[in-house]
Structures are given as C-alpha cells and as structure tokens.
C-alpha cells in the first residue's frame, strides 16, 4: 500500500483549497494517508535560535515514512505562503543543505492555485515551482519525480474551469495510490 503525506496550507477552513484537499483525499482512497494541516496544528513558521520542537521532529518522521508527498496550497507572492515556506525552512533546510535526505520519497506533487496568469508567474521567475523542483526534490533522491499541478488566474475563472481542476486534482491523487 502506498504511503502518502498530504500537507495542507490555507488559513481558512472553507475555501477553494479546502475543496481541492477534499478531492485529493477522495482520490487517495485505498492508500495509507497522513495529513499535516499547518494552520490547524498551529505550526510556527518563524525561524528561531533554538529550532527544535515537537512539530519539526514529527514532520521529519512523516517525511521519512512516506513514498509520496502531496502539497496543497495557494501561491502568494510568487511562492509558497509564509506558513508553508516556514515549514520548508524549519523542517527541510538541513536535508536541502546536504544533511540526511528523504530518500524514501519517490514523488512530490504540488497542487496550487495562482491569482495571476502563467505569463506573470514566468516573469516573476516561478519561485514556488523551483522551490519544489530544485530544493525539495534534490533533498530526497536523484530519481525523485515532481509534478506541478497548477491553476492560473483563479479569480477570473468561471465555475466550470474551477470544477475541472478539482477533477484533475482527484485524478492526480488516484495515480499515487
């Protein structure tokens, strides 16, 4: 049975990202799933002089347990929201900088929404995507695959497009089972 860690990052309980999260969980039926909801568990995103706390150790244990990591979040200011960036800073930084890697993770999937267009995101340098492909993936293994599942210009899209993206998120999740 494949083991999937889902990380959800959005300040609101009811929002489009939550709908994506629900469909992802539906798609993962049959897999062994663990969920980290950063806002709900009150994760502290700010770095501090003493970096260790219970959250960080537990999250690293989960990262050593899973075969696939699935991130669900909105893209803000061309990248991961500060809450999720703080998770990367505090939980991942040692692995990114050459420490013990999460070699068990074969695939990282980012499912994210953007207020701006694909063009604007390209001009901005696609920092969020590169955080996943060039920082998180190399901190796992050489063969770790990444998939970028993104919806652009969400504020100007109609219900049909939003609904199709939810279907896509569920299909992507199913492919991990």
């Amino acid at each position: 049975m494949s083991r999937v860690l889902v990380v959800r990052c959005h300040p609101l309980r009811e929002c489009y990202i939550d709908a994506v999260h629900q469909r992802v969980l539906a798609g993962l039926a049959g897999a062994d799933v663990a969920t980290v909801d950063l806002y709900r568990e009150g994760f502290r995103p700010e770095s501090s002089i003493d970096e260790t706390d219970g959250h960080v150790e537990r999250h690293r244990d989960l990262l050593r347990w899973c075969d696939a990591l699935l991130l669900v979040y909105p893209t803000w200011w061309a990248g991961q929201p500060a809450m999720l960036k703080g998770w990367v800073d505090r939980v991942w930084a040692p692995a990114i900088e050459g420490g013990d890697r999460f070699t068990n993770i074969g695939q990282i999937v980012a499912i994210t929404t953007h207020g701006s267009s694909k063009l604007v995101n390209m001009l901005e340098g696609e920092g969020g995507k590169r955080t996943v492909t060039r920082n998180l993936a190399p901190a796992c293994g050489r063969g770790t695959r990444t998939r970028w599942i993104a919806l652009y210009g969400i504020d100007r899209l109609g219900d049909a497009r939003r609904s199709r993206f939810l279907d896509r998120a569920e299909r992507v999740a199913q492919s991990l089972v």
Binding site: E46, S47, M83, G86, E97, E124, G128, R130, T131
Partner: protein, 194 residues
C-alpha cells in the same frame, strides 16, 4: 530620501545584523532618513491569519495595527532595503509573510477596471537586497535565487518601472576577512544611494 530597512535574523548578534548596521550607517551618511525594522524583535507573525484572509479582498484588508504601521512605512518610502539570510533559496518565512500581510490590495497593488493588477508603490525608486547564502554562488544559480526574484521581479511589479534594484550576496564559503570586506562594500555602496 526615506529608506525602510528590514532586517531578518532571530540572533541579534548575527552577521546579518552587523550588515544591517553597516547599511544603515551608509544610508544615514548620505543624508537619508532610515527606519530600521527588526521583524523578529517586533514579534512579527509570518502567517496570514484567517481574519486577514477573510478581509483580504474587502475594503479594509489591514486588520492588525502592527501590520498597518508597516504599510504606512512602506507607502512613504523611497527605498526598500532587505537584509536576510537566504533559506531554501528563498526569503525566510517571516520576510515572505511581511510581503503577504503588509502589501495587500490598496497598499502593494491595486486592480484596474478589468481586474488586472496595477502597481501602487510608485514612490519606491530603489530596491536593495543584502543576502547571506549558505551555499556557493554556482549552487544558488542552479537552484534559482527565489528570494532575489521575489524582490527584483514580484515586488518590482508593485513599484513600477522607476524602481531600480541592487543586489549584494555574501556566499559561503567565506573567510572572516571576506565578511569584513563584504560589510565594507555594503556600507560604501549604500553611501551612494540617493
């Protein structure tokens, strides 16, 4: 000229804070008015709260007094200077959160009649990044310097074409003499900013 200098490092005795002091000296020596904000010292929260997210697209997106004070500082600034240690090729979360929470609609950008984003910080003429990296220059280039791009591309879009950016990176491995030299250079270059 008014400069807003944001310094990010939880350790007040760090090299980051030394660089911030040197940058401030340089800016002040050139006759600029400098406001220094130490995000860790003021207890700035990185994460946008649920209340802030609910208010984001409304008439009053600045919910907290602390955040509103930051918005007042940046809207009256001619230069934004950030001093930070790069983490995972990007801005530390607390600084990323400053952009998300302070530069809300009406502060960092506005929307035109078609709903397209338009710059709002049109007074900003200088964007300056002073960053320390725990990796050599080539490795940062391979990974993509996302922190720098957040400032020089995404933030610059909030300012407009009048804004020019300057970037100073101190890369590992570096010696103590190399650090001193870099700090000297930062101070000297800031003296020329007006």
């Amino acid at each position: 000229m008014r400069a807003l200098l944001l310094v990010v490092d939880p350790d007040p005795a760090s090299y980051t804070h030394e660089l911030a002091r040197r940058a401030r000296s340089g800016l002040a020596a050139a006759g600029n008015e400098v406001t220094v904000v130490d995000l860790h010292a003021i207890g700035f929260a990185a994460a946008m709260s649920p209340v802030e997210r609910e208010a984001y697209h409304g008439d009053e997106p600045l919910v907290s007094e602390q955040v509103a004070a930051q918005a007042a500082l940046v809207t009256t600034a001619d230069a934004l200077v950030v001093v930070y240690p790069s983490i995972a090729s990007g801005l530390p979360a607390i600084l990323k959160g400053w952009f998300e929470r302070v530069l809300v609609p009406g502060v960092g950008f506005g929307f035109n009649a078609q709903g397209k984003v338009r710059p709002a910080l049109t007074d900003i003429r200088h964007i300056v990044g002073i960053a320390t990296y725990r990796e050599p220059r080539w490795k940062v280039a391979v990974r993509n310097d996302n922190g720098r791009r957040t400032l020089t591309r995404a933030f610059r879009m909030s300012c407009g074409l009048q804004a020019r950016s300057r970037w100073f990176g101190c890369h590992e491995p570096t010696s103590s003499a190399g650090r001193d030299e870099f700090a000297d250079r930062v101070e000297r270059e800031m003296t020329g900013l007006s």
